[in-house]
């Protein structure tokens, strides 16, 4: 499966919800410590295994996350280390981009997620302890959710309920929010250490997974949230991202500072069902395609992007 070599360290990778062969990559110079950033839009070559870049956008600061609009096929949104949220139109050349820049967060924006059901809004999570709700056509955020006591690493929309999202924070809590409510509707102390990522089960809207610096992934049911449904051990270091499969009910993908990408079935006794060791540095970004079953992508601090089918070797050409 092909790989793409970026000039900067990879941070996040996202498949387009419109085009099967398209994906976006967020990268940051100097490991994201201090430096510029770049967004790459990649195309999978139809002829044979290969990945090429179709367009790229340079940013003054690190790009920590990127997401595609669910309403406009050529639009993507970037979470930037200088606290800004930028909107890009991939149909316009780089000199005409970005088309919007929102400067509201007081610190690095660590994640951005577009609402897949309502398709008209997105949430950003920042190290300034807040989550903000935005619409592309509004000049300012619609709401700010300020409850976490520490950095918020990710905010993710519920796949069925368009007003509900979850947030994962360094204050070791997972919070469930409803945009119609003034504050969080649920607080789950999911881990003893920082929670770096969370994602909803696409086929059971009450179930979500969290992953943490404590090396574990935990699966929760909000209806009985005092104890997790499952605790998945196997990663050697902090787990950076967790993602529920869009096609298989109980399948979870994760990537970790132990440089591996793992697949889990949390309903099974021996939960670890797959492991890929293609990265040579921290694996920090993963995605599973919504349009193509089994298609996965990952990126890491080794500046590489891999795209492969589950069951295949990511490095095979």
């Amino acid at each position: 499966m092909p790989m793409f070599k970026a000039p900067f360290n990879g941070y996040s990778v996202k498949f387009s919800p419109f085009y099967e062969s398209r994906l976006a990559v967020a990268t940051a110079q100097n490991f994201g410590i201090l430096g510029n950033g770049r967004i790459h839009v990649l195309e999978l070559s139809p002829g044979g295994p290969g990945v090429t870049e179709s367009i790229a956008f340079d940013t003054a600061d690190a790009v920590y996350d990127v997401c595609w609009s669910e309403s406009h096929d050529s639009v993507l949104i970037a979470a930037i280390g200088d606290g800004s949220v930028k909107i890009y139109d991939t149909a316009l050349p780089p000199p005409s981009n970005p088309i919007r820049s929102f400067q509201e967060h007081a610190r690095e924006v660590h994640s951005v997620d577009y609402n897949p059901t309502r398709r008209d809004s997105f949430v950003t999570a920042s190290w300034d302890d807040t989550v903000k709700l935005w619409a592309m056509d509004r000049p300012a955020s619609i709401r700010t959710f300020k409850e976490h006591a520490y950095c918020v690493y990710q905010a993710v929309w519920n796949p069925k309920h368009g007003d509900v999202f979850a947030s994962a924070s360094g204050d070791c809590t997972l919070r469930i929010w409803d945009v119609r409510e003034p504050g969080s509707t649920m607080i789950i102390p999911a881990h003893d250490l920082e929670i770096l990522s969370c994602d909803w089960n696409k086929y059971d809207d009450c179930v979500l997974a969290t992953c943490s610096v404590d090396k574990t992934i935990k699966v929760w049911d909000v209806r009985s949230y005092r104890a997790p449904l499952a605790v998945l051990n196997g990663h050697g270091y902090a787990v950076r991202k967790v993602k529920f499969s869009p096609h298989r009910r109980n399948l979870i993908a994760s990537c970790s500072y132990d440089m591996s990408v793992c697949l889990w079935d949390y309903m099974v006794e021996d939960a670890l069902v797959g492991r890929y060791d293609h990265h040579t540095e921290f694996a920090v970004g993963i995605d599973m395609s919504v349009l193509v079953e089994g298609l996965m992508a990952s990126t890491g601090w080794d500046e590489l992007v891999y795209v492969w089918q589950q069951g295949m070797d990511p490095r095979a050409s």
């Binding site: 419109f18 956008f57 096929d73 008209d120 607080i187 250490l193 696409k202 499952a230 089918q309 069951g311």
Partner: protein, 476 residues
Amino acid sequence: VTEATNEVSETAKLESVFKNSEPIREDQVENAIKFLSHPRVRGSPVIHRRSFLERKGLTKEEIDEAFRRVPDPSPSEQTAVTSQDGQQAVQGQIQAVQHAPAPVVMIPPPSLRSRFRWYHAVLAVGVLAASGAGTAVFVKRSLIPRLKSWVRKIMLEEESDPLEKADAKPSLAEEAVAAAKAASAAASDVARVSQEMMKTKSEERKNFEELMQLLGVQVQEMKSLSNNIRYLERNSNNLPKVYSANQEVYSGLVKTPAERRPYANGSNVDYDTRSARSTSPPAPPADSSQPPHPKSYMDIMSMIQRGEKPSNIREINDMPPNPNQQLPNPRIAPKAKPWDYGQPPQDESSKGPWWQQKNPRSADFGYETTTARSIGIRNETSTTEPAAIQKQRSWVPPQPPPVVMPEAAEAIRRPKPQAKIDQEVVAAASDDQSGVSDELQKVTKFSESGGDGSGRLEITEIQEETEHQHIGQEGN
């Protein structure tokens, strides 16, 4: 209309699962009250107190109830003052540690220190006041009698010397004047001395207060330093394992202004001294494999710590060239998600471009046979789960699309008719059980065109086909 009300009630029922409906647990509230009443806790910012209680599993309602019951004179003022102090102390520390990387020191528990501060300050002020009063009293009692006796002595001398009185009369007067002058001089001397004493006393008091303040700042700095060290220990997993973990370098890392890492959170240290700390990672080999790039992560970190900027950073203007640039017109209708049908899609045959082709042994996700497997910790009820899930795997009635509360939606965003139509059509289409997989293929794999003309999908298909005509092969 009944359909709509059913949907509303179902949605309301469904969405109430995202709220905690348990009653308040009195035992938890009482534990929280004990915690909040602790003198150490009272001096901390409210957000830290809340965060601690949240991590103990208390619900929002329980936490609010505990706050309500704890008599707290002026929580907002306290928090404002302490958070400001905390901030200033941390900022002062940033400079301090940059210049002198602090060695790791064992710090006595903060509680003793804070108590030491208060008691000592009160005691010191009391001592000063007492000593001042004592000195004043002493001066009054000793100096003035001395002055009086001196004057008396002079008078006696005058009286015991009548021989010199003849021409001493004018001299007596002179002497009396002189004595008076001397007395007044002495009085003014005394006044001056007492004034100086007052001044020195107030200076001493000022000095003492300054000393106390400096001590307080020191205490704060040391507190934050210990917080940072503990934070770093907890987060040592967050840094590359390939590189050696030098404690000094780490403490320097967190303080650099250019440092990316999130700022240290001081909440856990003071109150949750029993919280689990992650064990430090095992020491890596002395000379790790060479990274492919000249600049490794630690190199860059130490560069920044020294105040140097990596040379590869460019000045980039990434502001919108035209802030009023219109959003583009969408060229493709949004696609339904595979989970919108309520059940996972069937396994499709691996045809088409390479990215759709699956491993023939598709049951096996991993290709490495020597994968280390570990057993996940299971919930006791998990063994019964598969059976329940098996039942759920069969076709379930489609869930109605989320109903928008018009007032809420208006307040928050404009409704998008396009998306709604798609969802309703798709939901209606999924009623047809037999045709589910066929329709899925039609909707999700847009590279295939056409279909068998199922009436309910007409709208989406027509949209897709017109899009296809416009954009040709671009979607592929």
